[in-house]
Structure formats: structure tokens, C-alpha cells
């Protein structure tokens, strides 16, 4: 019996979960206006239910009160009765596939921003501003406390009325309940401040009101932090006391424990541990709390693998495993574990594309799975085509080309994939060279295994020419040829004469790091900071300069802190707001001329090496060589593509020299990994 713990059922109150695999509450940013789950929201969760998980807790940070803003992250709004009907539809969809569904309910207190929707005055125990969200807030008054407690109870009533299986109250990530708990934010001198007992009063009263509302048989959980990691915050021992108190109250059926506070940029990065952190970095905090409570403990944070999850359960550290990003990457993970198809699981690599989008108020998407949250139009399981079997030639083995080859093969076609390098992966292979970014390679590992398993004919180490492509007698050609470093944009950089080198040159090992290095990063994505880190880690003295307002400005909220932790520790000098005008040689060394964006003042740097990250230019030679020969003259019909419908050109007779030509990803214009994969999936799913 494999996974005897992970796949064993679990009883929570009157609820039997079919296994221990949970998708814990996270902000989806999918709710329809008004905070109502719509078709997209329900399909997103239903896919996980189909995929075999035991329990999903939806609606991260769903507000119970009208003055806890809902709109910033398109949260589910539990503050009025309109929510009952859509939640009932959600519950029905989940139950149909044997899964259970709960929702998280909260009041965010100061953890929001005032300037939107109803322009509310945010509230917090002592009026301390929240730094990450710039949450200016007032001191909460007794009347407001009492009203919010009632709001929690009313929200619980709605959740129960909708036929949901339970409710999780959030006291994690510095929401209102833990704003009361934390000495960092609670300086009150009334019954709700001072002693720990007083600071716990609000949370206890919330739980009492909720339990009174839903009765003894409805599952109620509490999510809490295991250590805020702030000198003036809640430490692990205090949180154990709180956990013990809450668990012994008899008011809740489970605790969900996470590590780290979340009210600074740096602590926030811990909450959804990015790939730089080790696996399950905070499970010890959950285990510490489990040691002092008599109710089940759930934990999620970088548990991505079935073996890992089984080990944590077997060792008794936790009772339920949250594998949330793991199931954003592959909603069918649980089923594949059950069916012994672990190798087919698209495993989360901790790239945090999902959460980094969410912190920008954008819908959660997976860097490596373009079907997630697009279930209405994009299939997670590719069905065989009922149409003619075709010869599809894909050029380029980066993520876009791999996805195109995979999907076309699953459609039942004969697929040939050309890749110039001896291994697949394209630019992702370079991205994985940066320190602490190695797990990016995991994205490719899956595509590599899948295209092999499915029988794509892979011609690796072959630099395809138009003649070679035509010799295959293709019906369809998909170009996914990516791009090359865009070094020629400014003549003064001297790239042509070797005065500057590209980030790719360094990451690929083609050019060795020099002693004093200026990294000029006009893109502010992971690549620039990554190459600076790469150089500094190898002993170079590095300055990284950018015209943007800060270094790594286009790297999301849970990832840029990782770069900053490393760059500061390595004494990398970070210089924002400058342009690189020129590089010239003087006395055997290089002089780089930087110009301040705002003052136009130029300054010079004398260095040994100038490394430039300026994105890419599309590789489009093959496109122009093939365009005129193709039936569709290389054109993708945007109307049908955006409508997720089959390309009209597919209905023509193909073969015998008549072929269609399409492009996906960076070889059209620079996108990103998700963009390339999405391009390929939406195009090839109808081949």
C-alpha cells in the first residue's frame, strides 16, 4: 500500500475527507463583480475536485464585513446574502466529484488600502499603519468590534446555508484577529489589549459567535501563524499558547498553521515560499503547534510532492497537507498519485507567478499550466482529435514548442520537434542557471518527460532549416524559435565590438565573470537580478543599474525580496534610475557611462566587464523563409484564437506541400513562459 497516510480518509467533525490532500485558502482574484463566484471560479475548483483532492478551502480572505474591502483582489464577498446561491452551486459542483469544500472568512482590518470601492476607513486595534499595502487605519471601537463579531456569525450562516462543508476563520497573515493578537499592532489598554488573554478576546468571541450560529456539527477551522518572525511580533511560544487556548475552547475542529508574518515585503515572501526556500520550510512550526493541541493540524507551504507529503503525515508532524500551488500547477495531482502516475504530475516549482500576479491585483495564473483557471476554454486533458491525422512540425524546444508538441501529439498527430541545442528547455535552461533559481528547470523536466512518454519524435541538436522542415512534408508547422539577446539597440553599448556582453553569455558560461562588473538591466525581470546574483556569487564585485524605479521592479512581491536578500548580502550595489549611454575602452579597462533619468547628469564607472540584460529580439528567420510558402501566409486568426476556437485555416485540405504556418511565444514578440505555453495550448488544442 503506497501513501497509506496521504490517501487515507480523514474525519473532521461530521465530515469525511477522502484523503489528506487539501487546497488551502488563497486569493484567486476570480470573483465576479460584487464578490460572487461565477463560472470561472466554480470551474477552477471543480477541476481540483475532479482531480481527486480531499478538501478545498476556497476564498482566501473573503471579507465578512462591508468595510473590509473586497475589490482589490476580487475576493469572495461573504457580507451579504447574495453569496448563498453561487456558493451553493460551487458546493454542488465539488460534491458531485466526491470532494469537500469550505471557505475562508475574515476581516482584514488594516491589511488593505482605503482608496477604492466605498473608500472605507480601515480599522485596526491601535491604528498602526500596515506597510505592505500602505494600510492607513483608525483605532477600532467597541461598537465596531461587536458589529464585526456579528458579521462573522452572519457570514457563517450564509456559508452553512449554501451547503458548504465548513468555514475557516483567518487569524493568519495579519488579519484583524491576529492584529489583536500581535504585540506589534495591539497597544490597547482596554479589555482587548494588554495581557495575552485580553488580546485573544476578539478572536475567541468571533469563534464563539460562529459556533453558536452554525451549531456543533458544522466544521469550523482557524488559520493562524506559527511565528511572525518579527522581533516585536508573535513568536512561536506565544502562538503555541494561543493555539492551545483556541483548540481547548472546543469551538473549532482544526487549525491550519502557516509560518511567517506578512506585513513587510520580506516576511510576505515567506508566506508562499518561493523556490529559493527549502521544501516545507515551516512545517516545524505546525508540528510545534500540533504538540500542544488536541485537534487536527493542517499545514501548507511548499509541500509539492506526494512522497514529501506522505513523509510529513507519517512522521506525525501534521494531519492534513495543503498542496495549494501544487494543484494550481496540476489540479489532477491527487488522481495521478492515486493512479500511480506520479511521473505525469506537473509539479509546482515555486516560481510564484501565481501569487506574484495576485499581489498586483491580477488573476492567479500558473507559469507552467495555461489551462488552470481557464477551464471553460482550455482543457487540462487533451482529447484525441476526431479529424484527420496530421504531420505537425514544431521548431524550438522551449516551453512554447514543447507545449505545442505535447498538445499536438495528444491530439493524435505525428509530431516532429526540432531543437537546436542538445537538450530541450530553451531560455528556461538559462533562467535555471541563476542561484536559487535552479528549480525553474523543473518546468522543463515535466515537458521533457511528457514529450518523451507521448512519443514526440524529438530531433535534438538539429538546427532546422526551411528545407529540412519542408522535407518532412508537414501539414502544420509551428515555429517556437524564441529569440536572442537584444544587444544592438544602443550602438554605444559596443556589443558588436565586444565591449559589452549579454546576460545569456554569462549565464550560459560562454563568457567567464570578470572581477569588477556592471550589470545593466533595462528589463527589471528575474534575468537581470539573477545574473547579478550569479556574478556576485562567483566572486565578482557587482553593481546593477537600471532605468526603472528600483532594481527588479518587474519581479513580483514574493520574489524580489529573495533577490534583495541575496544582493544586499553579497554587497551588490543597486543603482536605479539610470540609463546606459555608452561603453568605451580606456587603459585596458572599460568605462560605462550612466545617465540619470531625472537629472540627465552622467556618471562613469570603470569596470572589467559590462553585462547587459535587454530582453530579446525574436528569431524570425525561419518565419520569413516559410511565410510565403504557407497556405495561411503565417497568419494566426486572432478572433478565433482569442475565442479559443479552431483556426479557420485548419478546415482546408492539407498535405502534399500545402501546409499551415503558425508561431507561438517569444518568436513573435517577447512574452514570458506562461505566455508561450498559453499561445501553444490555445492554438494546438484544436489541431
Amino acid at each position: 500500500m503506497r501513501y497509506p497516510n496521504l490517501l487515507s480518509p480523514f474525519v473532521l467533525n461530521k465530515l469525511t475527507l477522502r484523503n489528506r490532500i487539501v487546497s488551502t485558502a488563497h486569493a484567486e482574484v476570480y470573483a465576479e463583480p460584487g464578490g460572487l463566484p461565477g463560472d470561472r471560479y466554480i470551474r477552477y475548483y471543480e477541476e481540483k475536485a475532479k482531480g481527486g483532492l480531499g478538501l478545498a478551502i476556497c476564498g482566501g480572505s473573503s471579507p465578512v464585513s462591508i468595510d473590509s474591502p473586497q475589490g482589490w483582489w476580487k475576493s469572495v464577498n461573504l457580507s451579504n446574502d447574495q453569496i448563498i446561491e453561487p456558493l451553493a452551486r460551487l458546493a454542488g459542483a465539488m460534491h458531485q466529484h466526491g470532494a469537500k469544500i469550505m471557505i475562508q472568512a475574515t476581516h482584514m482590518g488594516r491589511r488593505s488600502a482605503f482608496h477604492g470601492e466605498h473608500w472605507p476607513h480601515l480599522m485596526t486595534p491601535s491604528g498602526v499603519r500596515e506597510p505592505v499595502h500602505r494600510g492607513n487605519a483608525k483605532i477600532i471601537e467597541l461598537e465596531e468590534i461587536n458589529r464585526i463579531i456579528k458579521d462573522f456569525a452572519a457570514a457563517a450562516r450564509r456559508v452553512k446555508a449554501a451547503g458548504m462543508d465548513g468555514i475557516e476563520i483567518s487569524a493568519a497573515h495579519q488579519h484583524l484577529i491576529d492584529q489583536f493578537w500581535s504585540p506589534r499592532t495591539n497597544f490597547r489598554t482596554d479589555d482587548f489589549g494588554g495581557s495575552l488573554q485580553n488580546r485573544m478576546r476578539f478572536g475567541r468571541e468571533v469563534l464563539s459567535a460562529v459556533r453558536a450560529e452554525v451549531g456543533a456539527d458544522f466544521a469550523v477551522g482557524l488559520r493562524m501563524c506559527g511565528d511572525e518572525f518579527h522581533h516585536d511580533g508573535l513568536d512561536h511560544e506565544t502562538l503555541k499558547e494561543i493555539a492551545h487556548e483556541m483548540a481547548s475552547s472546543g469551538l473549532i475542529d482544526f487549525l491550519s498553521v502557516v509560518g511567517s508574518g506578512a506585513d513587510t515585503h520580506n516576511t510576505l515572501a515567506n508566506c508562499m515560499p518561493p523556490m529559493a526556500l527549502p521544501p516545507e520550510p515551516f512545517v516545524h512550526l505546525a508540528a510545534g503547534i500540533k504538540a500542544v493541541v488536541n485537534i487536527p493540524v493542517m499545514h501548507a507551504q511548499s509541500i509539492r510532492d506526494a512522497g514529501q507529503a506522505e513523509r510529513l503525515l507519517e512522521s506525525g508532524m501534521i494531519d492534513l497537507v495543503g498542496m495549494t500551488r501544487a494543484q494550481i500547477a496540476d489540479p489532477h495531482m491527487a488522481m495521478k498519485i492515486r493512479e500511480g502516475r506520479e511521473d505525469e504530475i506537473k509539479q509546482c516549482v515555486g516560481a510564484n507567478y501565481c501569487i506574484d500576479r495576485q499581489y498586483n491585483g491580477l488573476d492567479v495564473l500558473c507559469v507552467q499550466n495555461a489551462a488552470t483557471s481557464r477551464e471553460a476554454t482550455m482543457p487540462h486533458v487533451i482529447a484525441k482529435s476526431g479529424g484527420p491525422k496530421r504531420k505537425v512540425v514544431v521548431v524550438g524546444g522551449g516551453p512554447g514548442g514543447l507545449e505545442a508538441a505535447r498538445v499536438a501529439r495528444l491530439r493524435g498527430h505525428d509530431v516532429v520537434l526540432f531543437e537546436r541545442e542538445s537538450t530541450v528547455g530553451g531560455q528556461v535552461n538559462l533562467a535555471a542557471k541563476a542561484p536559487q533559481r535552479e528549480q525553474m528547470a523543473g518546468i522543463i523536466r515535466w515537458f521533457d518527460m511528457e514529450t518523451t512518454r507521448l512519443g514526440v519524435e524529438r530531433r535534438l541538436g538539429v538546427d532546422a532549416t526551411d528545407a529540412m522542415i519542408l522535407a518532412e512534408n508537414p501539414d502544420i508547422v509551428v515555429l517556437a524559435t524564441g529569440g536572442a539577446s537584444h544587444m544592438g539597440q544602443v550602438a554605444g553599448w559596443g556589443a558588436a565590438s565586444g565591449l559589452s556582453v549579454s546576460a545569456w553569455d554569462i549565464l550560459s558560461g560562454r563568457v567567464a565573470p570578470a572581477q569588477n562588473v556592471l550589470v545593466y538591466d533595462s528589463m527589471s525581470t528575474h534575468a537581470g537580478a539573477g545574473v547579478a546574483d550569479f556574478l556576485a556569487t562567483r566572486g565578482s564585485r557587482v553593481e546593477i543599474a537600471t532605468p526603472d524605479v528600483k532594481i527588479a521592479d518587474d519581479v513580483g512581491g514574493t520574489t524580489f525580496p529573495i533577490f534583495y536578500r541575496r544582493l544586499y548580502a553579497l554587497d551588490v550595489v543597486m543603482t536605479p534610475n539610470v540609463w546606459l549611454d555608452e561603453v568605451y575602452r580606456e587603459d585596458g579597462r572599460l568605462v560605462a557611462v550612466l545617465r540619470n533619468e531625472y537629472t540627465e547628469v552622467q556618471e562613469e564607472r570603470v569596470v572589467d566587464q559590462v553585462v547587459i540584460e535587454n530582453g530579446i529580439l525574436p528569431n524570425d528567420q525561419l518565419y520569413w523563409a516559410l511565410k510565403d510558402k504557407s497556405l495561411n501566409r503565417g497568419q494566426t486568426d486572432m478572433e478565433t484564437l482569442f475565442a479559443a476556437a479552431p483556426q479557420p485555416s485548419l478546415s482546408q485540405p492539407l498535405g502534399g506541400g500545402r501546409f499551415l504556418l503558425f508561431r507561438v511565444g517569444d518568436c513573435i514578440s517577447p512574452h514570458n513562459i506562461h505566455g508561450a505555453i498559453y499561445d501553444a495550448l490555445r492554438l494546438c488544442k484544436d489541431f
Binding site: M1, R2, Y3, P4, L7, S8, P9, T16, R18, H97, G98, A99, R338, E339, G340, K384
Partner: protein
């Protein structure tokens, strides 16, 4: 009428005496065995058993069927005529004419025997068996000469020559039984048919093991004389044709078992002696001459190596092939019973499994409550005392295996789609004890059976349904002797019924790979069910490509009889051979109907056809399925 005729008469009666004496001598060895019911009237069953049951097996090989018909038919007719004409001293020329005919037929048969032994198949024994064409021909030629030649020629040298030929032939025919020669089989074979230890098999497919009296002084068989006398007689019926050897999966895999040698060793056991003279293939890896036995000596290890005993998968392929209707597997189990119950000498993981069974009622040492974990989200009813249900699903040990859970989930899906009134046994289910029984632990088997029968007797259900042929066989065929009488159905049979009545609506499969079907031994050979799974596959539009060994003659997957637990090494693994069989058909998919077969065949490493239970194929072809 001359003196040669009298000589023949003398020879005839001497031969009769020798045969009688030899038979009595041999019978004394058999009778050293344990008691078994005996009734002379059973001799009357022989013609039918010979002409129907034996013929049914022999006819599978037309050449040898023809050969035996000629040589044995000719010999029996000739001897009967000689008995008449010479024994009774009639000396009628007309009868001599008939003798000529019979002897000619026999001579023709002898020629065929000779032909066959010119380039003998490896499964055939050599040694004394190789002289048979000559001694039989001598007998036939002697008779021909005696009856054909003018009397003038029947004197002197010729007469001596004829008498020599007749003497040689007669010696072969009548001394065999007393001395253990090849022709022993004629007498022992006839008696074996009459007094067969598993007489039920002539009325129906009989494969259930006999319950062991746990209060008996000796549990199972330690020494040859612990076998029942008619089992010993049965061993003597062996003609060393090696059909069993050719069918044995363990032999093919290079494990130290050869059913033919095993039977000969049992003969050696009750008659005494060494195996040095054995003229067939030895147990793979074990050289001849190292083993010997005696009637009152323990069989293991002097006569039989333990590895030989534990290599058997109890697949019954040997029994199915044996023209002499010998029951190899019963003998193996009798020996295992003593080794396990009296000596605790069970190799590999066998003992661990038996401990698990006693302590947890599961083979793997699991929590019984976990047996139906795979069903918690399927909305399946759990049976309770006082609530009646038509179909009770019994999952078996496979329910703890993630792979087999897929088959079970598919089965549940089918039952639900067909609106079957069913429930699972749930945490009430305990192991049937089947594997314990195959490993000789009759005590644990009977304890498990008593427990399961007690549980089932508190419940109200119409029929038991299982997807595990071992559970099926155990409950259906072996529980009745212990007081458990149930209607038991294998899922393929039940589903075939639902499909043909239209209750289960199936559409054509979307599977495009070539498909072959692997017969589980405990469904096919043990229970004769080879058609239902094939009918179901036809129903969803599958055109089966059959493997060379299929149906009642299917090749074992290697998973039976506790063999995966005792795990005796060979030169290759049985499932590898079976997958090679499947590959040879060009199949991309092997349909199966047993959790054991699934596990064994899926254990084959490297590229191989996919292994899918029939239920899974059907579930994917349910009507209305996307």
C-alpha cells in the same frame, strides 16, 4: 497344432502370473499409504473415464492419440485374442487371423512410437522408454510370425527367434508393473482411473482443496506413506510424457520445479531409491542423483528440495495437461501443509504474511478499516445487519493496492451506471484465507473462513460479487466444505449478464491498440470461466488477438499459490514470459480480470503492453461517457 502353441500357452499363463504377482507387489507399496474409501465397483467407471476424460486430454495431440490408439488398442486386442486362442488352448486358425490383424495394428502403432522417439521432444523421458518401440514391435512381430508362418517354418531357429521376440515383448508388458518399468502405467493407469482420489473431477470441474482435519496426528504429508493410498497409485500412472513439464510456468522460468520429475520423485518415495536413473529433465538448477527417498522417510529435504515445493504457483496447468489425470497440485499442497503446520518451514515472506493474517486478518498487516478507503468518495453503501441488499461486493486483499483500487473504482462506476442494488462489506471484511491455504496453512485458512462465514451469516444479501478470482474460488468452491454456502459471482460474469440484458449500457471502446486477454488461472482453469470476459470485450467492439496459451490452457502470471511471497529464484520471472506471450500477439494492451495478474504483469520492467482490468475498459466505454 504343434509344440510351439503349447509353449505360447505356457508363456501366456506365466505372463498372467507375473502380472498378477507384480501387481500385488506394487499394490503392497500403494497400500502402505493412508486410508481412502475403496469399492471394487468403481472399476466399472473405467471405460467411460478412459474413453471420455482421458481421451479428451490425449486428443489435443492427434499424433499421440493415433499412436496410442493403434499400439494400445492393437496390444489389448492381440492379448485378448491370445488369451482366448492360446490361454484357453483353442488354437483356432481363424482366431490366429484376428491376431494377425491386431498385431499388425500394434506394429503400425509401434512404428509411430519409433518415429516419435527418433527425434524426441525435450519433455519426453528417455531411458527405458526408448526401448518401447522395439519391445512392442517385437511382441507384435512375434505374434505375426506365430500366426502367419506355416508350421513347417515354426521350429528350430525360427521358433526360438519367435519365442525370444514374444518373450521380450511379454516381459515388457507384464513385468513393468512389478519392476516399475514403463508399462506400469497400463495397470496403474486403469486402477488410478477407477480409484481416483478426486473422483468428482469426472463429473464436473473440481478444483477445491480438501479440508484438512486439524486434529489428525500428522498434518499433511511428511513421508510418502502419509499420502492416501490412491494418491500413491495415481503417481504410478504417470507416463512421463512431460506435457506437465511443458506447461509448467515455474519450469519455464528456470525455477527448480518440474511437475513430471516431482511425480516421479513421489514414486521413488514410496518405492524407494535414488533419482540418478531419472531419464527426463531435472528440476532446473538441481542435478540428478542427489536425492533419494524411502516410504517411511521424510520427503523433504532428502527426496525433494524445499525450493521445488515452494516454486509451484498452484496454477494447475500440469493437471490440465495430464492425460493420466494425476493431481500434482493436491500433492504439493499436502506436502506444504506439513512443512507449514508441523515445521513452520515457510520461506521468504510467507511466514510474515501468515502472521499478518492471524493478527490483522489482512495479508499485508493493514488496518481492516482501510480496506475500502478507495470508496469513501464514491457514495457506496456499506452493508449493515438488518438491511438487505442484492449484491455484496467483496474486494479482497487487492483493495489495499492503489493499482487495483482503480479496477475497483471502475467496477463501482459500472454497478452504479447499471443501477445495481449493491453494498460493500467495508470494515467487516476479513481475508478469505485463500493464500494461507495455498501455502499450506490450513489452520489459518479455516480460522479466517470461520470468521468470514460468521460475519456473512449476520448479513442479508442475495449474491456475493468479487473482482478477485482467488476470493471467488475460495468463497464459491472451498467455503461450502466449511459450512459457507453462498452464490458467488466474478465481476466479469456478473457484468456480462448486465450487459447482455441491457441493464449496463456500453458503447464501443475508443481504444485503438490491439488487445489480448490474459486468463487468470483461478477464473479459467479453476472455474472454467473463459467466455464472460471475452464476451464483454466483444460487446465494446474489441477484437481479441489471443495468446498462444489462453483459455483453460492459459499461462500463469506467476502470482498464484503464494509464489510471490515464497519468491523462489529462477533464471527469469514468470510474468516476463507471460508478457512476452502478449508481445508476440502484437498487443498494446493486455486485458486482465484479477488483481494478482495485474500486479504481476505490471511488475514487468521495460516497455511492455499496458495492463488494464476488463472493468476499467468497460467503465471507459460506458454509454454517455465523454
Amino acid at each position: 497344432m504343434h509344440s510351439l502353441d503349447h509353449l505360447v500357452t505356457l508363456l501366456f499363463w506365466l505372463a498372467v502370473a507375473a502380472l498378477a504377482f507384480g501387481t500385488m507387489r506394487r499394490a503392497r507399496l500403494w497400500r502402505a499409504g493412508a486410508a481412502a474409501p475403496f469399492n471394487w465397483a468403481q472399476l466399472l467407471t473405467v471405460p467411460r473415464r478412459y474413453l471420455v476424460d482421458v481421451h479428451h486430454v490425449v486428443a489435443r495431440d492427434p499424433y499421440i492419440a493415433r499412436t496410442h490408439m493403434l499400439v494400445a488398442g492393437g496390444a489389448v486386442a492381440a492379448v485378448a485374442l491370445v488369451a482366448l486362442n492360446y490361454g484357453l488352448m483353442l488354437y483356432w486358425p481363424l482366431l490366429n487371423g484376428a491376431i494377425v490383424l491386431a498385431a499388425a495394428v500394434m506394429l503400425g502403432g509401434s512404428y509411430l512410437v519409433w518415429q516419435r522417439r527418433r527425434a524426441p521432444l525435450p519433455r519426453l523421458s528417455a531411458g527405458p522408454w526408448n526401448r518401447l518401440p522395439y519391445t512392442l514391435a517385437a511382441f507384435a512381430l512375434g505374434l505375426l510370425a506365430l500366426a502367419l508362418l506355416p508350421s513347417a517354418l515354426l521350429s528350430g531357429f525360427f521358433a526360438a527367434l519367435i519365442m525370444l521376440a514374444l518373450l521380450a515383448g511379454t516381459a515388457e508388458l507384464v513385468l513393468g508393473i512389478g519392476t516399475g518399468g514403463p508399462m506400469k502405467h497400463a495397470v496403474a493407469g486403469v486402477l488410478h482411473l477407477a480409484f481416483h482420489p478426486r473422483a468428482e473431477r469426472f463429473a464436473m470441474r473440481s478444483t477445491a482443496l480438501r479440508p484438512l482435519d486439524l486434529a489428525a496426528p500428522v498434518l499433511g504429508v511428511e513421508k510418502p506413506t502419509d499420502f492416501r493410498w490412491n494418491q500413491l497409485l495415481g503417481f504410478d500412472a504417470c507416463v512421463q510424457c512431460g506435457k506437465c513439464e511443458a506447461a509448467c510456468p515455474a519450469f519455464a522460468a528456470g525455477q527448480p520445479l518440474n511437475p513430471k520429475k516431482f511425480i516421479q520423485d513421489m514414486v521413488l518415495g514410496f518405492s524407494g531409491g535414488s533419482d540418478a536413473a531419472f531419464a527426463g529433465s531435472s528440476y532446473p538448477g538441481i542435478t540428478l542423483g542427489g536425492h533419494s527417498g524411502a516410504p517411511e522417510e521424510p520427503i523433504l529435504p532428502a527426496l525433494l528440495a524445499p525450493e521445488t515445493l515452494w516454486s509451484c504457483t498452484t496454477c494447475r496447468a500440469c493437471v490440465e495437461e495430464c492425460p493420466m489425470q494425476i493431481e500434482h497440485v493436491d500433492a504439493i499442497i499436502d506436502l506444504r501443509r506439513f512443512q507449514t503446520l508441523a515445521r513452520g518451514a515457510l520461506p521468504g515472506k510467507g511466514a510474515e504474511m501468515l502472521g499478518n493474517l492471524r493478527e490483522t486478518a489482512t495479508q499485508g498487516g493493514y488496518d481492516n478499516a482501510a480496506r475500502y478507503h478507495w470508496a469513501v468518495d464514491l457514495n457506496v453503501r456499506q452493508i449493515r445487519p438488518g438491511e438487505s441488499v442484492d449484491v455484496l461486493l467483496v474486494a479482497g486483499e487487492g483493495a489495499f493496492d492503489m493499482r487495483y483500487q482503480r479496477s475497483l473504482r471502475a467496477l463501482v462506476k459500472l454497478l452504479q451506471a447499471a443501477s445495481v442494488d449493491f453494498a460493500i462489506l467495508g470494515a467487516l471484511e476479513v481475508d478469505t484465507g485463500d493464500t494461507a491455504r495455498r501455502l499450506g496453512d490450513e489452520a489459518t485458512f479455516q480460522a479466517q473462513a470461520a470468521r468470514l462465514i460468521a460475519t456473512l451469516s449476520t448479513l442479508t444479501f442475495g449474491r456475493i460479487l468479487t473482482a478477485d478470482p482467488h476470493v471467488f474460488h475460495s468463497l464459491k468452491n472451498e467455503y461450502p466444505a466449511l459450512g459457507g454456502h453462498f452464490t458467488v459471482l466474478h465481476h466479469t460474469v456478473f457484468l456480462a449478464g448486465l450487459a447482455s440484458s441491457g441493464q449496463l449500457k456500453l458503447s464501443a471502446t475508443s481504444e485503438t491498440r490491439a488487445i489480448t486477454y490474459h486468463d487468470p488461472c483461478y477464473l479459467g482453469r479453476y472455474n472454467g470461466e473463459t467466455e464472460a470476459p471475452r464476451a464483454l470485450l466483444r460487446q465494446i467492439g474489441v477484437r481479441l488477438t489471443e495468446m498462444e496459451r489462453s483459455g483453460l490452457r492459459g499461462r500463469c502470471c506467476g502470482g498464484g499459490g503464494g509464489a510471490p511471497l515464497t519468491d523462489i529464484p529462477g533464471t527469469q520471472r514468470i510474468p516476463d514470459i507471460r508478457i512476452a506471450d502478449a508481445r508476440a500477439t502484437g498487443a498494446g494492451l493486455v486485458a486482465v480480470a484479477c488483481p494478482g495478474c495485474t500486479a504481476m504483469l505490471e511488475g514487468v520492467v521495460g516497455p511492455r503492453p499496458e495492463v488494464i482490468d476488463v472493468a476499467e475498459l468497460l467503465a471507459a466505454a460506458l454509454e454517455g461517457q465523454a
